[in-house]
Protein backbone atom coordinates (compact mmCIF):
# COMPACT_ATOMS: atom_id res chain seq x y z
CA UNK A 1 0.00 0.00 0.00
CA UNK A 2 1.34 3.40 -0.97
CA UNK A 3 0.97 6.60 1.05
CA UNK A 4 -1.94 7.99 -0.96
CA UNK A 5 -3.99 4.87 -0.47
CA UNK A 6 -3.23 4.77 3.23
CA UNK A 7 -3.96 8.46 3.82
CA UNK A 8 -7.31 8.29 2.02
CA UNK A 9 -8.41 5.52 4.34
CA UNK A 10 -7.35 7.12 7.62
CA UNK A 11 -10.80 8.52 8.56
CA UNK A 12 -12.29 5.03 8.30
CA UNK A 13 -9.34 3.52 10.12
CA UNK A 14 -10.25 5.82 12.98
CA UNK A 15 -13.97 5.05 12.93
CA UNK A 16 -13.21 1.33 12.82
CA UNK A 17 -15.17 0.52 9.67
CA UNK A 18 -12.30 -0.78 7.53
CA UNK A 19 -12.37 -4.47 6.81
CA UNK A 20 -9.73 -6.53 8.60
CA UNK A 21 -7.36 -7.01 5.67
CA UNK A 22 -7.57 -3.37 4.66
CA UNK A 23 -7.07 -2.21 8.24
CA UNK A 24 -3.99 -4.38 8.66
CA UNK A 25 -2.53 -2.99 5.44
CA UNK A 26 -3.04 0.61 6.54
CA UNK A 27 -1.71 -0.04 10.02
CA UNK A 28 1.26 -1.88 8.62
CA UNK A 29 2.01 1.09 6.41
CA UNK A 30 1.64 3.54 9.29
CA UNK A 31 4.19 1.73 11.43
CA UNK A 32 6.80 2.31 8.75
CA UNK A 33 5.81 5.77 7.47
CA UNK A 34 6.28 8.84 9.67
CA UNK A 35 4.63 11.15 7.14
CA UNK A 36 1.45 9.08 7.16
CA UNK A 37 1.46 9.06 10.95
CA UNK A 38 1.55 12.83 10.74
CA UNK A 39 -1.42 12.60 8.39
CA UNK A 40 -3.13 10.43 10.99
CA UNK A 41 -2.63 13.18 13.56
CA UNK A 42 -4.19 15.68 11.16
CA UNK A 43 -7.08 13.32 10.60
CA UNK A 44 -7.65 13.27 14.34
CA UNK A 45 -7.58 17.07 14.33
CA UNK A 46 -10.18 17.06 11.62
CA UNK A 47 -12.24 14.54 13.58
CA UNK A 48 -12.25 16.89 16.56
CA UNK A 49 -13.26 19.81 14.39
CA UNK A 50 -16.04 17.99 12.57
CA UNK A 51 -17.18 16.34 15.78
CA UNK A 52 -17.55 19.70 17.44
CA UNK A 53 -20.89 20.60 19.01
CA UNK A 54 -22.28 23.34 21.18
CA UNK A 55 -21.51 22.68 24.85
CA UNK A 56 -24.40 21.21 26.79
CA UNK A 57 -24.42 24.22 29.13
CA UNK A 58 -24.85 26.44 26.07
CA UNK A 59 -27.80 24.37 24.90
CA UNK A 60 -29.40 24.54 28.35
CA UNK A 61 -28.88 28.29 28.54
CA UNK A 62 -30.49 28.67 25.13
CA UNK A 63 -33.35 26.41 26.22
CA UNK A 64 -33.99 28.81 29.10
CA UNK A 65 -33.79 31.83 26.81
CA UNK A 66 -30.43 32.98 28.13
CA UNK A 67 -27.50 34.09 25.95
CA UNK A 68 -24.79 31.41 25.62
CA UNK A 69 -21.69 32.05 27.71
CA UNK A 70 -18.26 32.05 26.06
CA UNK A 71 -19.66 31.52 22.58
CA UNK A 72 -20.80 34.10 20.10
CA UNK A 73 -24.58 33.98 19.85
CA UNK A 74 -24.59 34.35 16.07
CA UNK A 75 -22.05 31.54 15.76
CA UNK A 76 -24.16 29.35 18.02
CA UNK A 77 -27.25 30.07 15.95
CA UNK A 78 -25.40 29.25 12.72
CA UNK A 79 -24.14 26.02 14.22
CA UNK A 80 -27.63 25.07 15.33
CA UNK A 81 -28.91 25.73 11.81
CA UNK A 82 -26.36 23.32 10.34
CA UNK A 83 -26.10 20.69 13.06
CA UNK A 84 -29.15 18.45 13.42
CA UNK A 85 -27.71 16.78 16.51
CA UNK A 86 -27.37 20.03 18.46
CA UNK A 87 -30.77 21.17 17.26
CA UNK A 88 -32.32 17.93 18.48
CA UNK A 89 -30.58 18.17 21.84
CA UNK A 90 -31.71 21.76 22.26
CA UNK A 91 -35.25 20.63 21.63
CA UNK A 92 -34.89 17.98 24.32
CA UNK A 93 -33.71 20.62 26.77
CA UNK A 94 -36.62 22.88 25.82
CA UNK A 95 -39.05 20.02 26.33
CA UNK A 96 -37.60 19.37 29.75
CA UNK A 97 -37.99 23.05 30.60
CA UNK A 98 -41.65 22.96 29.53
CA UNK A 99 -42.19 20.05 31.90
CA UNK A 100 -40.75 22.16 34.67
CA UNK A 101 -42.94 25.13 33.91
CA UNK A 102 -46.22 23.30 33.49
CA UNK A 103 -47.13 20.46 35.81
CA UNK A 104 -50.27 19.80 33.79
CA UNK A 105 -48.20 18.22 31.00
CA UNK A 106 -48.47 14.48 31.47
CA UNK A 107 -45.52 12.16 30.95
CA UNK A 108 -45.88 8.55 30.01
CA UNK A 109 -44.24 5.84 32.07
CA UNK A 110 -40.57 5.27 31.51
CA UNK A 111 -39.86 3.03 28.54
CA UNK A 112 -39.11 -0.51 29.69
CA UNK A 113 -35.63 -1.85 29.21
CA UNK A 114 -34.78 -4.15 26.31
CA UNK A 115 -35.25 -7.37 28.26
CA UNK A 116 -38.52 -6.21 29.72
CA UNK A 117 -39.50 -5.03 26.28
CA UNK A 118 -38.91 -8.46 24.82
CA UNK A 119 -41.06 -9.99 27.52
CA UNK A 120 -43.69 -7.33 26.97
CA UNK A 121 -43.66 -7.91 23.22
CA UNK A 122 -43.97 -11.64 23.84
CA UNK A 123 -47.04 -11.14 26.00
CA UNK A 124 -48.43 -8.65 23.53
CA UNK A 125 -48.00 -11.06 20.63
CA UNK A 126 -49.55 -13.87 22.64
CA UNK A 127 -52.49 -11.65 23.54
CA UNK A 128 -52.92 -10.64 19.91
CA UNK A 129 -52.82 -14.26 18.79
CA UNK A 130 -55.33 -15.28 21.45
CA UNK A 131 -57.59 -12.40 20.50
CA UNK A 132 -57.40 -13.35 16.85
CA UNK A 133 -58.18 -16.98 17.59
CA UNK A 134 -61.12 -15.89 19.73
CA UNK A 135 -62.41 -13.70 16.94
CA UNK A 136 -62.21 -16.56 14.44
CA UNK A 137 -63.98 -18.90 16.87
CA UNK A 138 -66.69 -16.36 17.56
CA UNK A 139 -67.29 -15.69 13.88
CA UNK A 140 -67.53 -19.45 13.25
CA UNK A 141 -70.00 -19.87 16.10
CA UNK A 142 -71.97 -16.86 14.88
CA UNK A 143 -72.20 -18.24 11.36
CA UNK A 144 -73.24 -21.65 12.67
CA UNK A 145 -75.93 -20.07 14.82
CA UNK A 146 -77.18 -18.04 11.90
CA UNK A 147 -77.21 -21.14 9.74
CA UNK A 148 -79.18 -23.16 12.32
CA UNK A 149 -81.63 -20.29 12.63
CA UNK A 150 -82.06 -19.83 8.89
CA UNK A 151 -82.22 -23.43 7.75
CA UNK A 152 -85.83 -24.16 8.87
CA UNK A 153 -87.05 -20.99 7.20
CA UNK A 154 -85.15 -21.78 4.03
CA UNK A 155 -86.54 -25.30 3.96
CA UNK A 156 -90.12 -23.99 4.33
CA UNK A 157 -89.56 -21.52 1.51
CA UNK A 158 -88.05 -24.25 -0.61
CA UNK A 159 -91.10 -26.46 0.00
CA UNK A 160 -93.45 -23.63 -1.00
CA UNK A 161 -91.46 -22.96 -4.14
CA UNK A 162 -91.56 -26.62 -5.05
CA UNK A 163 -95.32 -26.63 -4.61
CA UNK A 164 -95.65 -23.55 -6.78
CA UNK A 165 -93.43 -25.14 -9.36
CA UNK A 166 -95.60 -28.30 -9.40
CA UNK A 167 -98.69 -26.16 -9.88
CA UNK A 168 -97.11 -24.28 -12.74
CA UNK A 169 -96.00 -27.49 -14.37
CA UNK A 170 -99.55 -28.90 -14.07
CA UNK A 171 -100.94 -25.69 -15.56
CA UNK A 172 -98.51 -25.86 -18.42
CA UNK A 173 -99.49 -29.48 -19.03
CA UNK A 174 -103.16 -28.56 -19.02
CA UNK A 175 -102.57 -25.70 -21.41
CA UNK A 176 -100.68 -27.99 -23.73
CA UNK A 177 -103.55 -30.48 -23.65
CA UNK A 178 -106.05 -27.75 -24.42
CA UNK A 179 -103.92 -26.46 -27.24
CA UNK A 180 -103.70 -29.98 -28.58
CA UNK A 181 -107.48 -30.27 -28.47
CA UNK A 182 -107.94 -26.93 -30.23
CA UNK A 183 -105.85 -28.08 -33.08
CA UNK A 184 -108.04 -31.14 -33.47
CA UNK A 185 -111.58 -31.26 -34.95
CA UNK A 186 -114.35 -31.01 -32.28
CA UNK A 187 -116.74 -33.91 -32.50
CA UNK A 188 -120.21 -33.88 -31.01
CA UNK A 189 -119.95 -30.48 -29.46
CA UNK A 190 -122.89 -30.02 -27.09
CA UNK A 191 -125.28 -27.28 -28.24
CA UNK A 192 -127.82 -26.81 -25.45
CA UNK A 193 -130.56 -24.20 -25.76
CA UNK A 194 -130.24 -21.56 -23.17
CA UNK A 195 -133.43 -19.89 -22.04
CA UNK A 196 -133.52 -16.77 -19.97
CA UNK A 197 -133.81 -17.23 -16.22
CA UNK A 198 -137.15 -15.47 -15.96
CA UNK A 199 -138.69 -18.03 -18.27
CA UNK A 200 -137.31 -21.09 -16.49
CA UNK A 201 -138.03 -19.69 -13.03
CA UNK A 202 -139.10 -22.41 -10.69
CA UNK A 203 -137.19 -25.03 -12.53
CA UNK A 204 -133.54 -25.81 -12.74
CA UNK A 205 -132.40 -22.93 -14.84
CA UNK A 206 -128.76 -24.01 -14.84
CA UNK A 207 -127.25 -25.48 -17.94
CA UNK A 208 -124.45 -27.87 -17.12
CA UNK A 209 -121.37 -27.40 -19.19
CA UNK A 210 -118.46 -29.83 -19.05
CA UNK A 211 -115.23 -28.10 -18.15
CA UNK A 212 -113.11 -30.28 -20.31
CA UNK A 213 -115.03 -29.91 -23.51
CA UNK A 214 -115.99 -27.24 -25.94
CA UNK A 215 -119.67 -26.25 -25.83
CA UNK A 216 -121.88 -23.93 -27.82
CA UNK A 217 -124.77 -22.22 -26.09
CA UNK A 218 -127.70 -21.29 -28.26
CA UNK A 219 -129.28 -18.23 -26.71
CA UNK A 220 -133.01 -17.93 -26.84
CA UNK A 221 -133.66 -14.28 -26.25
CA UNK A 222 -137.26 -13.44 -25.25
CA UNK A 223 -137.23 -9.75 -24.82
CA UNK A 224 -138.66 -7.72 -27.59
CA UNK A 225 -136.93 -4.45 -28.04
CA UNK A 226 -136.37 -1.97 -30.72
CA UNK A 227 -132.78 -1.51 -29.63
CA UNK A 228 -130.43 -3.05 -32.08
CA UNK A 229 -127.30 -2.86 -29.93
CA UNK A 230 -126.67 -5.38 -27.25
CA UNK A 231 -124.02 -5.84 -24.60
CA UNK A 232 -123.00 -9.23 -23.30
CA UNK A 233 -121.21 -9.89 -20.02
CA UNK A 234 -120.13 -13.13 -18.39
CA UNK A 235 -120.14 -12.88 -14.58
CA UNK A 236 -118.79 -15.37 -12.07
CA UNK A 237 -120.44 -16.34 -8.77
CA UNK A 238 -119.19 -13.26 -7.01
CA UNK A 239 -120.59 -11.00 -9.73
CA UNK A 240 -117.17 -10.20 -11.13
CA UNK A 241 -117.10 -9.69 -14.86
CA UNK A 242 -115.06 -12.44 -16.43
CA UNK A 243 -115.65 -11.38 -20.03
CA UNK A 244 -117.75 -8.79 -21.78
CA UNK A 245 -118.46 -7.49 -25.24
CA UNK A 246 -120.44 -4.37 -26.18
CA UNK A 247 -121.88 -2.96 -29.41
CA UNK A 248 -123.17 -6.30 -30.70
CA UNK A 249 -125.97 -6.24 -33.26
CA UNK A 250 -129.05 -8.21 -32.44
CA UNK A 251 -129.55 -10.18 -35.56
CA UNK A 252 -128.96 -13.71 -36.68
CA UNK A 253 -125.32 -13.53 -35.85
CA UNK A 254 -125.92 -13.19 -32.11
CA UNK A 255 -127.40 -16.53 -31.34
CA UNK A 256 -124.67 -18.69 -29.96
CA UNK A 257 -121.71 -18.61 -27.55
CA UNK A 258 -119.03 -21.16 -27.97
CA UNK A 259 -116.77 -21.85 -25.03
CA UNK A 260 -113.61 -23.57 -25.98
CA UNK A 261 -112.15 -26.28 -23.82
CA UNK A 262 -110.77 -24.96 -20.59
CA UNK A 263 -112.05 -21.44 -21.08
CA UNK A 264 -114.15 -21.59 -17.96
CA UNK A 265 -113.15 -23.03 -14.64
CA UNK A 266 -115.69 -25.15 -12.76
CA UNK A 267 -118.32 -23.00 -11.07
CA UNK A 268 -121.51 -21.04 -11.60
CA UNK A 269 -121.67 -18.24 -14.16
CA UNK A 270 -124.26 -15.83 -15.41
CA UNK A 271 -124.57 -14.49 -18.94
CA UNK A 272 -126.10 -11.03 -18.75
CA UNK A 273 -127.52 -9.45 -21.88
CA UNK A 274 -128.36 -5.76 -21.88
CA UNK A 275 -129.57 -3.25 -24.40
CA UNK A 276 -128.42 0.28 -24.90
CA UNK A 277 -131.28 2.76 -24.90
CA UNK A 278 -130.74 6.46 -25.00
CA UNK A 279 -127.05 5.81 -24.45
CA UNK A 280 -127.65 3.95 -21.16
CA UNK A 281 -127.27 0.18 -20.65
CA UNK A 282 -130.54 -1.52 -19.62
CA UNK A 283 -130.22 -5.10 -18.25
CA UNK A 284 -132.33 -7.67 -20.08
CA UNK A 285 -132.10 -11.47 -20.09
CA UNK A 286 -129.95 -13.50 -17.72
CA UNK A 287 -128.78 -17.02 -18.41
CA UNK A 288 -127.39 -19.21 -15.67
CA UNK A 289 -124.82 -21.88 -16.45
CA UNK A 290 -122.71 -24.18 -14.32
CA UNK A 291 -119.40 -25.53 -15.41
CA UNK A 292 -118.33 -28.78 -13.85
Amino acid sequence: MICDQAIERLPWLLNGSLEAAEREEVQGHLTTCAACREALAETREAWKIFGQHLPSETLIAMAYGEPPEGIDSALAERHLASCPECAAELELARMSRRLEEDDRIATFPVKPSRETGKEYRGWRNAALAAGLAGLVAFSGWFQAAQRSHLVPGLEARNHTIQQEQAKLEAGVKEMRDQMAQLTQPQINTPIPDLHPDEITRGESAEILIPANRAVTLALQPSHETTATERNVALLDESGRTVWQQSGLRLDDTLREFTFTTGLLKPGRYTIQLSTVENGQPVPRERYSIRVQ
Binding site: P11, R37, A39, E45, F50
Partner: protein, 204 residues
Protein backbone atom coordinates in the same frame (compact mmCIF):
# COMPACT_ATOMS: atom_id res chain seq x y z
CA UNK B 1 -32.16 30.95 48.69
CA UNK B 2 -35.71 30.72 49.96
CA UNK B 3 -36.41 29.14 53.29
CA UNK B 4 -38.43 26.43 51.67
CA UNK B 5 -35.58 25.49 49.31
CA UNK B 6 -33.04 25.55 52.13
CA UNK B 7 -35.27 23.32 54.22
CA UNK B 8 -35.82 21.04 51.27
CA UNK B 9 -32.08 20.67 50.71
CA UNK B 10 -31.51 19.96 54.38
CA UNK B 11 -34.30 17.40 54.54
CA UNK B 12 -33.09 15.75 51.32
CA UNK B 13 -29.56 15.41 52.64
CA UNK B 14 -30.95 13.98 55.89
CA UNK B 15 -32.79 11.37 53.86
CA UNK B 16 -36.26 12.62 54.65
CA UNK B 17 -38.62 10.37 52.75
CA UNK B 18 -40.91 13.14 51.55
CA UNK B 19 -38.05 15.41 50.45
CA UNK B 20 -36.25 12.58 48.69
CA UNK B 21 -39.49 11.61 46.96
CA UNK B 22 -40.10 15.19 45.83
CA UNK B 23 -36.57 15.60 44.45
CA UNK B 24 -36.71 12.19 42.80
CA UNK B 25 -40.00 13.13 41.18
CA UNK B 26 -38.42 16.31 39.83
CA UNK B 27 -35.46 14.34 38.49
CA UNK B 28 -37.64 11.79 36.75
CA UNK B 29 -39.81 14.47 35.20
CA UNK B 30 -36.86 16.61 34.10
CA UNK B 31 -35.08 13.60 32.58
CA UNK B 32 -38.16 12.25 30.87
CA UNK B 33 -37.51 13.86 27.44
CA UNK B 34 -34.07 12.20 27.26
CA UNK B 35 -35.11 8.66 28.01
CA UNK B 36 -35.67 7.61 24.40
CA UNK B 37 -32.22 8.80 23.35
CA UNK B 38 -30.60 7.08 26.30
CA UNK B 39 -32.51 3.88 25.62
CA UNK B 40 -30.94 0.98 27.49
CA UNK B 41 -28.71 3.32 29.50
CA UNK B 42 -31.73 5.10 30.92
CA UNK B 43 -31.73 3.47 34.36
CA UNK B 44 -27.99 3.93 34.77
CA UNK B 45 -28.16 7.57 33.71
CA UNK B 46 -31.03 8.24 36.08
CA UNK B 47 -28.96 6.80 38.89
CA UNK B 48 -25.99 8.95 37.82
CA UNK B 49 -28.24 11.99 37.91
CA UNK B 50 -29.38 11.17 41.46
CA UNK B 51 -25.78 10.80 42.55
CA UNK B 52 -24.80 14.06 40.87
CA UNK B 53 -27.68 15.91 42.50
CA UNK B 54 -26.76 14.50 45.89
CA UNK B 55 -23.12 15.46 45.35
CA UNK B 56 -23.91 19.03 44.28
CA UNK B 57 -26.37 19.64 47.09
CA UNK B 58 -24.02 18.03 49.59
CA UNK B 59 -21.19 20.30 48.46
CA UNK B 60 -23.40 23.36 48.77
CA UNK B 61 -23.23 24.14 45.07
CA UNK B 62 -26.80 25.32 45.10
CA UNK B 63 -26.59 29.00 45.98
CA UNK B 64 -30.18 29.99 45.49
CA UNK B 65 -29.67 32.02 42.32
CA UNK B 66 -32.71 30.24 41.02
CA UNK B 67 -35.31 28.07 42.70
CA UNK B 68 -34.15 24.62 43.79
CA UNK B 69 -36.53 23.09 41.31
CA UNK B 70 -35.07 25.04 38.38
CA UNK B 71 -31.53 24.37 39.55
CA UNK B 72 -32.14 20.64 39.70
CA UNK B 73 -33.89 20.74 36.37
CA UNK B 74 -30.82 22.23 34.73
CA UNK B 75 -28.51 19.79 36.46
CA UNK B 76 -30.59 16.91 35.14
CA UNK B 77 -30.59 18.29 31.58
CA UNK B 78 -26.85 18.89 31.74
CA UNK B 79 -26.11 15.39 32.95
CA UNK B 80 -28.44 13.75 30.44
CA UNK B 81 -26.99 15.70 27.52
CA UNK B 82 -23.47 14.80 28.57
CA UNK B 83 -24.45 11.16 28.80
CA UNK B 84 -26.04 11.24 25.35
CA UNK B 85 -22.85 12.70 23.93
CA UNK B 86 -20.74 10.16 25.77
CA UNK B 87 -22.61 7.41 23.94
CA UNK B 88 -21.62 8.74 20.54
CA UNK B 89 -19.06 7.14 18.29
CA UNK B 90 -15.45 7.57 19.25
CA UNK B 91 -12.38 6.94 17.22
CA UNK B 92 -10.58 3.69 17.56
CA UNK B 93 -7.45 3.55 19.70
CA UNK B 94 -4.44 2.71 17.55
CA UNK B 95 -1.90 1.90 20.20
CA UNK B 96 0.14 -0.22 17.84
CA UNK B 97 0.39 2.69 15.43
CA UNK B 98 0.68 5.63 17.79
CA UNK B 99 4.32 5.91 18.68
CA UNK B 100 5.56 8.22 21.40
CA UNK B 101 5.15 11.72 20.13
CA UNK B 102 2.52 10.91 17.56
CA UNK B 103 -0.52 9.67 19.53
CA UNK B 104 -3.51 11.73 20.62
CA UNK B 105 -2.11 12.08 24.15
CA UNK B 106 1.03 13.64 22.72
CA UNK B 107 -0.70 16.53 21.05
CA UNK B 108 -2.14 18.45 23.96
CA UNK B 109 -2.21 21.60 21.88
CA UNK B 110 -4.84 20.03 19.73
CA UNK B 111 -6.88 18.52 22.52
CA UNK B 112 -10.47 19.63 22.50
CA UNK B 113 -10.38 19.84 26.29
CA UNK B 114 -7.72 22.52 26.18
CA UNK B 115 -8.74 24.29 23.05
CA UNK B 116 -11.26 27.01 23.03
CA UNK B 117 -14.51 25.46 21.92
CA UNK B 118 -15.38 28.77 20.39
CA UNK B 119 -12.30 28.44 18.16
CA UNK B 120 -13.24 24.94 17.02
CA UNK B 121 -16.78 26.07 16.31
CA UNK B 122 -15.40 28.94 14.24
CA UNK B 123 -13.23 26.54 12.30
CA UNK B 124 -16.20 24.33 11.69
CA UNK B 125 -18.18 27.38 10.63
CA UNK B 126 -15.71 27.93 7.80
CA UNK B 127 -16.00 24.46 6.38
CA UNK B 128 -18.51 23.87 3.57
CA UNK B 129 -21.73 22.14 4.63
CA UNK B 130 -21.15 19.11 2.40
CA UNK B 131 -17.81 18.55 4.13
CA UNK B 132 -19.55 18.63 7.49
CA UNK B 133 -22.14 16.20 6.23
CA UNK B 134 -19.55 13.71 5.02
CA UNK B 135 -17.52 13.92 8.20
CA UNK B 136 -20.66 13.64 10.30
CA UNK B 137 -21.14 10.25 8.68
CA UNK B 138 -17.56 9.26 9.46
CA UNK B 139 -17.90 10.33 13.07
CA UNK B 140 -21.14 8.33 13.18
CA UNK B 141 -19.15 5.22 12.18
CA UNK B 142 -20.19 4.68 8.55
CA UNK B 143 -17.82 2.89 6.20
CA UNK B 144 -16.80 4.52 2.93
CA UNK B 145 -18.85 1.96 1.06
CA UNK B 146 -21.96 2.91 3.03
CA UNK B 147 -21.25 6.58 2.49
CA UNK B 148 -20.70 6.04 -1.21
CA UNK B 149 -24.08 4.37 -1.49
CA UNK B 150 -25.82 7.07 0.51
CA UNK B 151 -24.23 9.91 -1.41
CA UNK B 152 -24.25 8.10 -4.76
CA UNK B 153 -20.54 8.73 -5.17
CA UNK B 154 -17.82 6.30 -6.24
CA UNK B 155 -15.75 5.09 -3.33
CA UNK B 156 -12.47 6.48 -4.69
CA UNK B 157 -14.03 9.85 -5.38
CA UNK B 158 -15.56 9.89 -1.92
CA UNK B 159 -12.23 9.17 -0.21
CA UNK B 160 -10.55 12.01 -2.09
CA UNK B 161 -13.37 14.41 -1.24
CA UNK B 162 -13.12 13.51 2.43
CA UNK B 163 -9.39 14.07 2.28
CA UNK B 164 -9.93 17.49 0.76
CA UNK B 165 -12.39 18.35 3.52
CA UNK B 166 -9.90 17.29 6.14
CA UNK B 167 -7.28 19.53 4.56
CA UNK B 168 -9.67 22.46 4.50
CA UNK B 169 -10.57 22.04 8.15
CA UNK B 170 -6.96 21.83 9.27
CA UNK B 171 -6.02 24.81 7.09
CA UNK B 172 -8.90 26.85 8.53
CA UNK B 173 -7.77 26.04 12.04
CA UNK B 174 -4.20 27.09 11.31
CA UNK B 175 -5.47 30.28 9.75
CA UNK B 176 -7.58 31.14 12.77
CA UNK B 177 -4.67 30.39 15.08
CA UNK B 178 -2.65 32.97 13.15
CA UNK B 179 -0.36 30.56 11.37
CA UNK B 180 0.09 30.18 7.63
CA UNK B 181 -3.04 28.59 6.21
CA UNK B 182 -1.22 26.40 3.74
CA UNK B 183 -3.21 23.78 2.00
CA UNK B 184 -3.71 21.63 5.05
CA UNK B 185 -1.74 18.77 3.60
CA UNK B 186 1.03 17.30 5.65
CA UNK B 187 4.37 18.29 4.28
CA UNK B 188 5.88 14.86 4.50
CA UNK B 189 3.70 13.40 1.78
CA UNK B 190 4.07 14.44 -1.79
CA UNK B 191 1.09 14.19 -4.04
CA UNK B 192 1.58 11.54 -6.65
CA UNK B 193 0.51 12.50 -10.17
CA UNK B 194 -2.38 10.12 -9.91
CA UNK B 195 -3.62 11.57 -6.63
CA UNK B 196 -3.20 15.19 -7.80
CA UNK B 197 -5.15 14.43 -10.89
CA UNK B 198 -7.98 12.77 -8.99
CA UNK B 199 -8.00 15.47 -6.36
CA UNK B 200 -8.30 18.23 -8.94
CA UNK B 201 -11.06 16.37 -10.66
CA UNK B 202 -13.04 15.77 -7.47
CA UNK B 203 -12.27 19.06 -5.78
CA UNK B 204 -15.40 20.66 -4.38
Amino acid sequence: MGTDDREMVALFLQGDTEAVGTVDGWISRAAWPYQRRLADHWDDVLQDVRLEVTRLLGQGKFRGESSLRTYLWRVVSHTCLDQIRALKWKWVDLEEVDQPGSGPESVPASSARQEDKDLLLRVLDRVPPDCREMWRMIVAGLSYREMGLRLSVAEGTLRVRVLRCRERAVAARRELLGGPPGNGRNNGVKNSPKRSERANTDDM
